[in-house]
Every structure is written in C-alpha cells, then in structure tokens.
C-alpha cells in the first residue's frame, strides 16, 4: 500500500463548477500538507501549504486537512479552462530524518471544459 493515495482521474468539469480533489494517507507522522499544480511539460507549482489540521483559503482555492481521518482536500471554485492541469498532493513529516523529503500522490488530472 502506498503512503499517499490519490485518484488519477481524469476529472472533467464544466467551466464555473467547483473542483473537488482529495488524498488519503497512512503515515500519522505527516504534519505538512501541500498541493501542487503541474501543467503538461512543466514542473510542479506550489498552490497551497498547510501545517497540521484545519482549513486554508487563498482566492479560489481552499485546502482542508483532517488528520483524524488522514484525509486532505483541495477545492477550486469558479473553475476556468486554465485550471486544466494535474494536481498533486504532497506531505512530509517533521522528524529530522524526513527533513526536505516530500511524499507525493500520483496526481489527479483535471479537465475544465468551456
């Protein structure tokens, strides 16, 4: 079993809809949670960063972390065709031997149709 599970999609939504993405994980030591966006032939770009449990909002993006369920989510409101990309969740523990080591999910491909 992988430490981080993420549905690969593709997830197709009409323009203006809410995109809902999620990841589950098994390592209870994970404390830092991130969402990256990756366009085709590009490197990942950090969208959201959350430490421990809770919600965080930034413009059209909302990240949620539920450590009790080992479940994280990303919501994209008012989706645009430019949001079409692969979304990767990533997480890390705080132990010294985990410093700098991100564990990624496989990524979910999102397609927003005009």
């Amino acid at each position: 079993q992988k430490e981080v599970e993420q549905d690969p999609g593709p997830l197709s939504v009409p323009e203006g809809a809410i995109v809902s993405l999620n990841c589950t994980y098994s390592n209870s030591a994970f404390q830092y949670f991130m969402w990256y966006r990756q366009y085709s032939r590009k490197g990942p770009e950090l969208l959201m960063y959350t430490y421990s449990s809770g919600n965080k909002e930034d413009g059209r993006f909302t990240a949620q972390v539920d450590k009790s369920s080992k479940y994280i989510s990303l919501f994209i409101r008012d989706s645009q065709p430019s949001d079409s990309a692969t979304y990767l969740c990533a997480m890390s523990a705080t132990r010294p031997d985990s410093w700098g080591k991100l564990q990624f999910g496989a990524g979910t491909q999102v397609v927003v149709t005009p």
Binding site: Q6, Y32, G100, L102, F104, A106
Partner: protein, 112 residues
C-alpha cells in the same frame, strides 16, 4: 528573477551509459532536492543537498549520486542506466525551509 533552471531539457541515452543532469537553484536558495517522476506518477524523492553535503536520501540505489557546488548549483549523476530510469527528473530548490520548494521544468531522460 530566474527561477530554477535545469539542463538539458531532453536527453536520450543507451542502456548501460552514464548521464549527468544539471540544476541551478532560484536566486537566494541554498538547498537543492532531486526527484524522479515516471509517466503518470507523482515525483519520488531521490536526495537533497545542503552545504555541499547529501542530507537526506530516498529509496534509490547507489547508481544515483549527486553533488552540490559552492554556488549552490547541483548535478545528478546516474550510472549504468536501465530502461526503468526513463523519467522526468525534477530539481527543486529552497532556502532551507521545506514549504518554499520551487521546482524547475525538469529533464526528460529516455533510456533505449
């Protein structure tokens, strides 16, 4: 302000050969991490360099080695290439803190 730059962008090698990939971190960053991303998968951590030393290493064989130079740039070397080493190799830089990880656009390595 230049971001993370990687060279070359594409590379084709033959099984058994050796390859060197290069990375220049974002200005002001002193830590470089390398990741391997197979097609349809998320990036996998290879290792991280800080102060010219390998600080952390993922589950990769010794065929994968690296180096960090005094100007913080870095190289990833892979010896005895296997077909399974075909992937996108990503370099990420940060100023020590984990959350400010900036990725380059990667080097796509094809092993035939």
């Amino acid at each position: 302000d230049a971001g993370v730059t990687q060279s070359p962008t594409h590379l084709i090698k033959t099984r058994g050969q050796q390859v060197t990939l290069r990375c220049s971190p974002k200005s002001g960053h002193d830590t470089v991490s390398w990741y391997q991303q197979a097609l349809g998968q998320g990036p996998q951590f290879i290792f991280q360099y800080y102060e010219e030393e390998e600080r952390q290493r993922g589950n990769f064989p010794d065929r994968f080695s690296g180096h960090q130079f005094p100007n913080y740039s870095s190289e990833l070397n892979v010896n005895a290439l296997l077909l399974g080493d075909s992937a996108l190799y990503l370099c990420a830089s940060s100023f020590r803190t984990l959350r400010s990880l900036h990725f380059g656009n990667g080097t796509r390595l094809t092993v035939t």
